[in-house]
Symmetry: C2
Subunit: 160 residues, 2 copies
DNA sequence: ACATAATCATTACAACTCAGAACGATTGTC
DNA sequence: GACAATCGTTCTGAGTTGTAATGATTATGT
């Protein structure tokens, strides 16, 4: 009976913040495992999605959004380019910057990536009904918005 | 109107799995910032909680639970011991292993840590009412359980 | 009982990752 | 037309990470 004295809400290890950290880490690791099938890491998948959403941006902008320094972005983009998934084009207006685009091969891989993402979503939320699933997403969106997080790519990726 | 063609549920970047990863990373980083006030990192806070919950365990067990190799656990425990927060005692039954315990000073810091954790919880869930908060925790618990996650410490910590 | 294998904590070490400084090319500013 | 700023890139140093080797102790097998 000594551990039963809780004057307030849930303790730290059972609170929502801890559960979010725990589940977020779990979901990210599982996703990384899944897309390893396509020889992709989470940051690489993020870049493909970003290029599909808004093509032709400069490397610096993309690096900023991914939360990685420009120096690290270079070999990062090199590999994707070497695999023929993305393409660097000279910007005629500003010959310093390279505009990045998705190749056809990259678009094809992105399609596979989306399927993997949907399977991942189903797997993570297997414990919930369809209604509960919608409810959870709605709540998480509100929390994310109130916390000032931008919808889309987040910089908490892990390199592996 | 061109971006409105969604044959199925929420896409990858707006799904629950992605939101969990995004929010989890955010919550973990915010928590790390908060406990930096107490000169603690998330793994250090995790160890203090583990020692309060079950004292006298061996270093290897604790290292396993924290997801860190034993070689890295040694300097990790050294610092906490040097600050007088934990204590290594020789196990009389097995003189190879060291049993770890929380000191009084460590217990005191843990109390402060709990307060920080509660403030953190309130902050993260500021967008939700009390009812919604309970609802969210219940859902997350179910998801975590179905995913086979053990309540308590998770190995997705960040060293900083 | 005695040799051998296994376990714990620790140390030593090598590989890898990462961010910031420095650099040439190009562009904007005044 | 000089000077500062920006982009992509390379280089380098610090920091981190896991694996292998070590010494002490304990378990196992015969």
């Amino acid at each position: 009976m000594s551990t039963d004295r809780r004057p307030e809400g849930p303790p730290a290890q059972g609170g929502a913040a801890f559960l979010l950290a725990q589940l977020g880490s779990h979901a990210a690791r599982l996703f990384a495992d899944r897309i390893a099938t396509l020889d992709l890491t989470p940051p690489q998948a993020g870049l493909l999605r970003m290029l599909a959403a808004s093509p032709g941006r400069s490397q610096r902008e993309l690096a900023d959004d991914l939360g990685m320094p420009p120096s690290r972005f270079v070999p990062f983009a090199d590999e994707l380019e070497g695999r023929g998934l993305i393409e660097r084009r000279k910007n005629p207006n500003d010959r310093r910057s390279h505009a990045l685009y998705l190749t056809e091969k990259g678009s094809g891989l992105l399609a596979e990536l989306r399927e993997v993402g949907m399977a991942h979503e189903r797997d993570i939320c297997a414990a919930l009904s369809a209604d509960e699933h919608r409810e959870l997403v709605a709540m998480l969106r509100r929390v994310a918005e109130q916390q000032g997080l931008t919808l889309g790519v987040h910089p908490g990726y892990r390199s592996a």
